[in-house]
Symmetry: C2
């Protein structure tokens, strides 16, 4: 292995160094090996000797059997029942910025409603000129269809970490999030058709599942950028994401994105529903609560390396992670390998969109020493992701909501990685 | 129904007209109904009476049972065996511009290779300074990881239509295409490590499947924008898309995007492999052939309405479709409802990226008369998608490749839609 001190981190410099020094020496440090005949090559490359499976086996395709461990997972002790529970996105096994639909975080309060789209109706009523009911067909032929990529993050994402490092894997510390494309119509256009009365200030959204989930949404947000969505990543919404129709509330906490949406009521004050009073208010150290804390502030996490994706090799490695902000675009992500003493700016790859996950990479050489890996997001408003201790100083540790502090992973000399706190 | 002549097509004008005329009259023409108590509403909205399925039922999620008809399909008579066959993307049932992995077009010549990624190797040899072999781990920690969205279109897409309208559904006429995100490293960076000799002009890519698919690629393209990709839409490549690693050749015909990639050989001339001589050359009317016709020219198709997605309602409707070009970005898409006499410019929604599918919409009112629906794409080079007859005048009808002519759908008075030719 080439020692880190001798190895330029920049690939272009590295490659031209290789050109100067001769291929034998310098290219040996990039991940590859000389093409000598060896058992690994001559023995195993015989896939072509066997006719593979044909096309009709896969009218709707699935991942390879070798990827069977890349699945959503719950944490058994977290909830009392499967019907009111959580399945976490396997962030450590994903790349890019769009979450595959089959691996997208799910949270239910009464199980997955089983709704026939032909019979489903969405009603708009309350403080409107003309109450309206929409079939799914009505929605799909409404003028002004939109297609947008947004992150949905549960307010309780990283909630177990307020009191210290708890869960060993970014799937569990940060996996209550997904980032998918939505197809639908703007909520504003439907409300305009119903005619919102001038005294209306709030909107109640109600789900058709067994929990009859309800949340109050300020009218200003409803008229701004909310979407009534029936599509997800190009196809129909998945059942666990609200099939046949859900509310999309960009940048705001996931609980408000009512699934299996059946009713929108206009009113002049919030409804004080269970999920915005006893839940989703943030208990402070002095016993008071923050309420209506809707916006998800800027946050990031390194997904590789992480406890479920340790470092396997010395030499060149690719560090990767995701960043997002409920207030707009991600402007920059910095990464530290030494617990926040030194930072380098990561490369953002792929689309950088408002209120959408952004992927970042840092190429680095690992010489086998211990690392304290962190990332820190900055959004277009100038907001900088705080440390966990900075957050605790202001908010205490009573809440389980809105923990967007900097995550630290400790990489051991053998490459194993664990969730740690640093002071 | 409001007659089309009386109904402004523009939604904003429409809505302000509604405001002036009173809600009762004008909003009735937008898709919705008054919220009167009726059997459909009071009888069926009882989903909330039943506890739904819990989270562990879906570690890797699937579509709703109500979407069971949204699947890839083959055309049984098209190929002699399942192992050398085609499954078509259900374009009429999709939206946005990214194809869901489970619904992405597949084409195999020896079935789906079953490859253990831990044992797979990719070799680079031939006219290089230093032959190299890469494990999957080597590739995944190679510096400079990229993440890109590109369309892959089979050169034979729409190939049955050269001699006239054949297949009744855009899934079959245009479904040999998908548009997905790729994670990988640039082919250039791997070739730079191996050191390409100055006399090298071509590159052979070979697959590890039973057909040992091989194609020759000009070195200039290999060094330009090709990707060695292991990821697709955020997760691992699907088996039918070349798991664990494939070649991505942006804008060029799909057959060159070698799947199950195991070998790259540098040489000084093309290899004249079966798939670039007896196949994938374009037989002209005079018996000569065009060869090395790699680039997929600009093309588009209306996906809704189309034979598998007829018009169901008079009044407001959303026309939707996709456009793409192997030469760059889509600049504009025009749509005609009367067989090309009058055109209106469609609205492009979502990202408009180079050599990537672009989604377009046109809101229109349908009064129940017959329509001849067409779309015509223009790309950033100024190229305009030709009519089929313009293509035939130049290329004849002997080839099954590179048919990018304008598609016509005939909408009957009852909304049923069929594939037709117009002179």
């Amino acid at each position: 292995m080439v020692d880190r001190a001798e190895t330029p981190l920049n690939r272009r410099r590295f490659l031209s160094a290789a050109g100067l020094a001769g291929a034998g020496l310098a290219t040996g440090a990039l991940p590859s090996r000389a093409a000598e005949p060896d058992a690994a090559i001559t023995d195993v490359q015989d896939w072509n000797r066997y006719l593979g499976e044909g096309v009709q086996a896969h009218p709707y395709g699935s991942p390879s059997k070798y990827e069977k461990n890349v699945v959503r997972r719950d944490v058994e002790w977290l909830t009392a029942s499967r019907e009111s529970s959580v399945n976490f996105t396997p962030l450590h096994a994903l790349d890019g910025n769009v979450t595959p639909s089959g691996l997208a975080f799910e949270r239910h309060h009464g199980g997955i409603a089983d709704i026939d789209p032909a019979k489903h109706r969405l009603m708009i009523h309350g403080l409107v000129d003309k109450p309206l009911v929409f079939t799914m067909d009505d929605l799909k032929r409404f003028p002004g269809r939109v297609h947008k990529l947004y992150f949905l993050e549960c307010a309780a994402n990283s909630g177990m970490e307020w009191r210290g490092a708890q869960l060993n894997g970014c799937q569990f510390t940060h996996g209550m999030i997904h980032n998918v494309w939505y197809t639908g119509v703007s909520l504003r256009s439907l409300l305009e058709q119903a005619g919102v009365k001038t005294n209306a200030k709030w909107l109640l959204a109600e789900g058709g599942d067994a929990s009859m989930m309800t949340r109050s949404i300020p009218l200003q947000k409803a008229l701004d950028d909310c979407i009534i969505a029936w599509g997800m990543n190009g196809e129909a919404l998945r059942p666990e994401q609200g099939y046949p129709v859900r509310l999309v509330v960009p940048g705001w906490e996931g609980n408000m994105w009512i699934k299996w949406l059946r009713r929108l009521e206009l009113g002049d004050e919030p409804w004080q529903a269970r999920e915005e009073t006893s839940k989703y208010t943030d208990l402070l150290a002095d016993g008071r609560s923050r309420r209506f804390t809707y916006i998800m502030d800027a946050k990031s996490v390194v997904t590789n390396p992480s406890p479920q994706a340790p470092l396997l090799h010395k030499g060149p490695n690719v560090l990767s992670g995701i960043a997002w902000s409920g207030r707009g675009r991600i402007e920059r992500v910095d990464v530290s390998l030494d617990g926040g003493r030194n930072w380098r700016t990561a490369r953002l790859e792929g689309p950088v969109l408002s209120r959408s996950m952004t992927r970042f990479y840092v190429d680095f050489d690992w010489d086998g020493r211990e690392l304290l890996v962190q990332s820190r997001a900055m959004d277009e408003t100038g907001y900088v992701q705080p440390t966990k201790n900075e957050l605790r100083a202001v908010r205490g540790v009573n809440s389980i909501y809105h923990n967007n502090g900097v995550q630290t992973w400790f990489v051991h000399k053998n490459g194993e990685t664990e969730n740690v706190e640093i002071s």
